[in-house]
Symmetry: none
Subunit: 195 residues, 4 copies
Amino acid sequence: MSDRTAVEGVSDKRTAILEATLDLISERGFHNTPVSLIARTAGVSAGIVYHYFSSKEELINELYRGVKLETIRAMLADYARDLSLQERFLGIWSNYVQFSLNQPTKGLFLEQFENSPYIKHVMGEDFVQALAPFFDLFEQGMDEGVFKPLPPVVLFDLGFSAASSLVKRHVAGVVVLDDELVQAAANACWDAVLR
Amino acid sequence: MSDRTAVEGVSDKRTAILEATLDLISERGFHNTPVSLIARTAGVSAGIVYHYFSSKEELINELYRGVKLETIRAMLADYARDLSLQERFLGIWSNYVQFSLNQPTKGLFLEQFENSPYIKHVMGEDFVQALAPFFDLFEQGMDEGVFKPLPPVVLFDLGFSAASSLVKRHVAGVVVLDDELVQAAANACWDAVLR
Amino acid sequence: MSDRTAVEGVSDKRTAILEATLDLISERGFHNTPVSLIARTAGVSAGIVYHYFSSKEELINELYRGVKLETIRAMLADYARDLSLQERFLGIWSNYVQFSLNQPTKGLFLEQFENSPYIKHVMGEDFVQALAPFFDLFEQGMDEGVFKPLPPVVLFDLGFSAASSLVKRHVAGVVVLDDELVQAAANACWDAVLR
Amino acid sequence: MSDRTAVEGVSDKRTAILEATLDLISERGFHNTPVSLIARTAGVSAGIVYHYFSSKEELINELYRGVKLETIRAMLADYARDLSLQERFLGIWSNYVQFSLNQPTKGLFLEQFENSPYIKHVMGEDFVQALAPFFDLFEQGMDEGVFKPLPPVVLFDLGFSAASSLVKRHVAGVVVLDDELVQAAANACWDAVLR
DNA sequence: TATGAATGAGGCTTCATTCAT
DNA sequence: AATGAATGAAGCCTCATTCAT
């Protein structure tokens, strides 16, 4: 037990810092979120943050990587090659919406991060791996002549850009994203990629 | 000339401040863009900024309103009710892409602003008016049974979300948005909204 | 008429500036009273203040001299050598209280000014003249053996310090300075100077 | 010694800041005493001031409370109910004068503070307790028919207002407050409160 | 006389980061 | 591994004063 405590003790604080950072930044923004506040929220001292992360920037980058990977993986939950193209496509859509609605801070954080010139994002090998199923999906769809003959990234945007926009609308209270609407929107995007 | 000087003289500095703010924020972010740098870039003193704007926040809000309105109007250039639904839809698409590629700082600024919890955006009557043609378009399309029976905002997202994503891909160097690709993407989104 | 307008026009603005300064400083303090606010309150431009006064400091000094002289003169209204010592003493007391209650801003301003190291007060010949009756009173009282044999300034403080303290109590709402109380206090101070 | 160091270590900087603030403000005024100068004089960084005080205003308020309490307590040194009314009264007088002459900055600071609309003073329970002996003195004096039948605050002002005025005269060089003069003045004020 | 835009120094405060303990 | 006092650079903003008109 002392072993676990020791081991988890470490990651506990690290995790607490990351979670506090996520919550604070998603509702206050990068600036307006001082390290001292992150520390207080996480229940640790300001100094210890620099034991786990070399700088505030690295902390935020680390958080970005984690949240981004988690989001990608959530989108691909249940993804299986033996499902039809459409089943996989629609599955990603509903996974994404469900995840975003359950974890609103993560979406807000990602959008903020990705639209800020403040911090340059560096992606590593694990991202390439995590994203592979998307390319797999679109390449298979093109090979089979089911999808429009466009670069996979373009198909990706055609297929999923609207999803995050709609989630923002929902968060803003402009629309209510119930199952029916999600399915309708997902099917509309399916029409967009379909040849 | 003395006429123009007199007239423009009043707003010259104000305009210079707004333009400097746009350029700096789009490439450096909200923070990392001190008022002192804005002033220096605009060729004015730091103090005078507060003669034209009551705070940095108000300056940025004012800038947002101006850029947003300009973008909306650019999208609707040539918009005319006697054009077909598809012509109008595709026109908006190409107007948007063209404007975004010509004025990359404005798109970057808008995305950053709209995804930041830092500043709350307040829109006024002029926005409602400027956006009217979009609602006009989608409502007419639904009335005629051409578009899917979905809320106008949803149709808007289905129709245009991908556009800004693709522009970002272009700016990031991932794809090259030539005319052919823009048309293909625009037509794909047309498929998305089409019944 | 044009003559009067021209002449009064000048002093009108000067007076308006002085009055605005008095009101603002008495309720906001020296700092926290920018020249720009003084100008706005007086209904003039900021620049013109420097036509009438060479600096903010001089403006305040000028104001001090005027208010101080006015206060001294108000205390000595009705002062006449043919009145008894006690009549003159009590007259000063009630004049002071009456003036202070009617013109609360002036007392506040004087106290603030005289207790601030910010601005060094320079008094001129007119002050010496205006204050002469006080010395006259106390010297006569000493010569006649009616007052305690103390320096006139000391007799002055013994005789009148309590007056301003009581006015402040009244302004603060701690006591109500009605006629009866003023007379009682004045008589008590008369006891203090009386041999 | 290590003990004292440890104990004092905590409040050392806080105390240094308060002392520097007192000295600087008493000779320069509230404004004209920037926080940066306070910090430099105290031998600390500017930032740390905000670790101990939430703002410059709070710092000054805190200082006021401390100096005021110290002054009140100094006035009441040796105060004892078994002394006669007159002994107590005259003791307060000489305590006050002695304290003021020994600690001229404190008197200057108090006067400046109390006559400035800049900062609103809030007094707490400790003030009420510290001031109790004054009320005790005046109420007893009235009950015994020794003092004039006036509100305690009024008796207080009649009894002690002149003291601070005279100290200011001394500081200004107008009179020399030697023991003889202090006693004469104190006795004169005793006459003022005496029935 | 009069305006008010403009300047620029300086004030208060915040905050990422370090370091003695 | 942990604390939190401490630093000092930098940010936003104010304001006395000037000057072109």
